[in-house]
Symmetry: none
Subunit: 228 residues, 2 copies
DNA sequence: TATCCGCTTAACGACTTCTTAATGCTTTTG
DNA sequence: CAAAAGCATTAAGAAGTCGTTAAGCGGATA
């Protein structure tokens, strides 16, 4: 599994990280909320271990921003020293999937992470489908009407988000966040990428899938499919 | 949510069940492992609360059989008085999704159940409805009598506020605040936007929904619907 | 080193949306 | 009932956004 640990105490971080790495997982670290959030948005982790007490942005903020702004539903396990019911409820409310109180057993942490990752996988299929468009996340292959389509890395990222969200509208800002993280390019590069994505996905076919919501963002939807 | 409680202690079962029912959930009970497993297999619950100490078949067996034989992946929250690490690990190994140790807070139980049910279920679209008018907040699509209506961003913002408030009156100032924030335009731009909103929503249909409250603001109501 | 590929930037026209202002109608108020 | 204020309607220009194209930069590749 690929796991992100957001924890400001280096001892705890190292302790947890070492254990998980010994168990064969790949571990990334962040010492504060901002970089943690950034890593979580840009990468695709199987699970995130999130301490509540963080310098700058605290854990609840990180979780909430991850869910609402970045619209990522990577499983989050919250970690805290304080053990009040109120705290826990608030943690779950911001979108946490599990909650452990220090001190805890490393084995239990790993077991819970594994359960979270297992659940998360079940929801997100390995192949995204919208109409006749398919995107295999394992082979990073895109095809429409059975014909293979090759895309740039940026195109893939955009397409993934659009397909995940379909038929919802994805704001320009969210797309930019997904591709570049917090440090956006100076110019409106997104427009050019959308254009080339359209060239690859829509232009060779009869029905265009990518729609523009002027002033808001984009939307990927198959017109014939049943909408609500 | 539809929840199954498998618990042999009638006091605890009643206690938990009453609380969950008060919170608006539908609860089923089973006093032993065999009937619990049977109910879990036959029905589709959103989550299962499973005690470990059960007469006959114990909780671990129930969980394992549910997963392996019945191949159901209904979320399972295990409940136990014993708090050994070994127990917990075994619980997760048999396919539990969460694990709580007695005594526990009912509110936390509900929060965890909600998280479990949330995963694995597709997020249902958020839709505002007033009469035959519908506004899907995810796809940003508006329709009336099934016919699609396209609106510009400002129109969407106004409509959202009016529909949220319906059938109450929304003051001009509140609407302006919603669209422009604190820095309002110099002229009374709101009137023009309301006008174009009416053109889109009311003009093509028989019954107008947007009413003017002179000197106060606007109101969106379906006249036929029951009002207070 | 030369070539390719992907990304960014810039520029331009086309298009959409927003604001402003002018005019006439409706409601309120003294 | 008349004046004043608030509102509806319309049109036109300003401002903003989008699609498209092409040039330049830098890293990777051969």
């Amino acid at each position: 599994m690929k796991i992100l640990i957001i924890e400001d105490n280096p001892d705890i971080a190292a302790n947890v990280g070492d254990y998980l790495e010994d168990r064969g997982h790949v571990v990334d670290f962040a010492g504060d909320g901002v970089t943690g959030l950034h890593l979580a948005v840009v990468n695709d982790f199987d699970a995130i271990v999130l301490d509540l007490m963080l310098p700058g942005m605290d854990g609840l903020d990180v979780c909430q921003k991850l869910r609402e702004e970045a619209r990522k539903n990577t499983p989050v396990l919250m970690l805290t020293a304080r053990d009040t019911l109120e705290q826990k409820l608030q943690g779950f409310k911001t979108g946490a999937d599990d909650y452990m109180v220090k001190p805890f057993e490393l084995q239990e942490l790993e077991a819970r992470l594994q359960v979270l990752a297992r659940r998360g996988k079940a929801v997100e299929p390995r192949v995204l489908k919208v109409g006749d468009l398919e995107y295999n996340l394992d082979t990073l292959t895109v095809s429409r009407e059975g014909k293979e389509i090759t895309l740039n890395p940026t195109g893939l990222k955009l397409l993934q988000r659009l397909m995940e969200a379909s038929p919802r509208v994805v704001s320009r800002h969210e797309l930019e966040l997904r591709v570049w993280g917090e440090e956006l390019p100076d110019s409106d590069s997104l427009r050019v990428h959308i254009h080339s994505l359209r060239n690859a996905i829509d232009k060779p076919f009869d029905v265009p899938l990518i729609q523009t919501r002027h002033g808001i963002g984009y939307r990927l939807v198959h017109p014939d499919a049943v909408q609500t």
